[in-house]
Amino acid sequence: MSAKGERAKRSLSSSFQPYLRVIFFVPATVLLIFLVVYPAIQTLLLSFYHPSGAFAGLDNYGSVLGNRQTIDTSDWSIPYGTLINNFLWIAIHLPLSLFTGLYLALTLQKVRGASIVKSFIFLGMVTPMIVGGIILRFLFDEKSGIVPRAFGLLGISGLAIQWTAYPETLLFGLIFGSVWLWVGFSLIVYSAGLTTIPRDYFEAAQMDGASAWQTFRKVTWPLLRPTTLTVVTMTILWELKLFDIVFAATNPNGGVGGAADVLALQMFRYAFMAGNFNDAAVVATLLTGLTLLVSTWMFKRIIIGKGKNAGRLQRALRRLWARAKPLGRVLKA
């Protein structure tokens, strides 16, 4: 026993009923295999077959990607198609919600009652997204919605309309509206990230006569890098998996002319409304490809890190686990 004291640091001695230990893993393994691994592989396979059961190769991918519902660049006007819409969401919603959350986290540090304000803003994250979509629809109602009425008061009659009835206002309304629902996430994660930065850093910066902007640029922002990485990954994953909001705010077709259509909704429509499992599987596989790309990118960024000596897998993995924790909540949403 004393000889392997070093090893005992991380694991209990295994001299004791080692075979019984398998039981710890059995229930989880069974469920994961039957309800995650098997269905995922099955979906992947489905995407390569015709509905008739004949092998299709990449035919389905060709037809789905060639479909205007997926990518519509014919005239570069709305609808753009689901794939482009999801990217639009990332391009607009990600920076907006990230920087709003960061700005609020920094500001609220010096504000009385900050925790109440945080709770208010976080309500959007607690609300079921299906209700979130309904609320967005209310907000954009021509007569009883506050957004068109506010634009009406400002004299911008072009936006004092039923937003959900026009492709442009529908798409961008939902993207901006989902910022309202999601800012709470980056706010909370950044707030927690800020507490990990030692106060001395800011004091030192202040003594050196750094301006608020310089302090942010040279101290806060670099030290928040891991936090930013988490927020970016999680937000992109959320934007890719978007379903409830669009479903509730519009209809299963993604609103007028499919203006706000997204991949997850397209998959649902193909599979459970049109009954075309194979095309639905293609959409699902594309979506999964994107989410896996983003997640592995994050894992890689963390594993490779900055230093050259971070290559040892064990150490890297340990750091990975330590940092990957906040993944829990949102990855599965």
Binding site: F24, I135, F138, S144, I146, Q314, R329, K332
Partner: protein
């Protein structure tokens, strides 16, 4: 800071900057609350009063009529949606916590070949979208006679929750001191006894954090429910909301829809309000102090 340097005024001078910051922060906070206020105001008033916006308060006749209508709807009453949501969400919270904690303890404490690679794979499962498994699960559930049953949805939610709870609990178990467990082992306790009698009780805060997150996640879920629950008596609360907005040739009125929305979201909001500490901790993880 700048304004304070001057003299020794007895009344502390509040810098303009501070006032501005407070105004902005509270302004944004209230702005964020505004849409919720709108839903609430819409829900407690007859639809004729809110045609021109819920902020018009003349006339203002608060009523619970909308809630009553939502609760007594002949085909999809809200009370049944709520009941079904609880029937699904409660087992879907505790089952995966138990199963995943068991596995997580194994990953944290036992040594076996390929352990870390296996674990990495399971963690990557978290990135898989629900759409990737929906079709085969739908078909399997029909074949197994579990489609349109609560058991089917509970099983899916349970399996789906395992990767993140495994990750979360394994990380937590690794922070627990080994000495207590080793001492119990010397006394002849088995792995299971140690797990139940020592490890689980020590992990209650972490388990609470997981429970809060998982409950809310299942409660708020719409996609799996939509795929797996079909009969009107089996629908969960989130499914009733869009139904209420689509039913009939005309959109049902906003009042009833708002009332239903409030009822559906009040549960996670109460959970959040009472368990906020655990919720935030669960979300942020245990490394960053929250």
């Amino acid at each position: 800071m700048m304004a304070n340097g001057r003299g020794r005024l007895r009344i502390p001078k509040i810098p303009v900057r501070t006032v501005v910051i407070h105004a902005i922060a509270w302004g944004i906070g209230l702005l964020w609350l505004f849409p919720f206020l709108g839903v609430f105001m819409t829900s407690i008033r007859p639809v004729t009063e809110i045609l021109n916006g819920w902020w018009v308060t003349n006339p203002f006749n608060p009523t619970l009529q909308n809630f009553q209508t939502a609760f007594t709807d002949p085909t999809t009453p809200m009370w049944r949606g709520l009941r079904n949501s609880f029937i699904v969400a409660i087992p879907s919270t505790f089952l995966p916590i138990f199963i995943a904690s068991l596995g997580a303890y194994g990953f944290a404490r036992f040594r076996f070949p390929m352990r870390d690679y296996l674990f990495l794979t399971i963690v990557l499962f978290m990135a898989i979208p629900q759409q990737m498994v929906a079709i085969p699960i739908f078909v399997t559930m029909i074949n197994a006679g579990l489609w349109d049953t609560f058991l089917g949805v509970i099983l899916v939610h349970t399996a789906w929750a395992l990767p993140w709870i495994l990750l979360f609990m394994r990380n937590f178990f690794q922070t627990l001191p080994l000495e207590v467990e080793e001492a119990a082992r010397v006394d002849g306790a088995s792995d299971f006894r140690i797990f139940y009698k020592i490890v689980l009780p020590m992990s209650l805060p972490a388990l609470a954090a997981v429970a809060v997150l998982q409950f809310m996640w299942v409660w708020n879920d719409f996609f799996f429910a939509k795929v797996l629950l079909f009969s009107s008596q089996n629908l969960v609360a989130t499914q009733l909301v869009p139904l209420l907005s689509e039913a009939g040739p005309f959109h049902k009125d906003q009042g009833i829809l708002s009332a239903a929305s409030i009822v559906v979201m009040i549960v996670p909001i109460i959970v959040f309000a009472t368990m906020q500490r655990y919720y935030i901790r669960g979300m942020i993880g245990w490394t960053i102090k929250g």
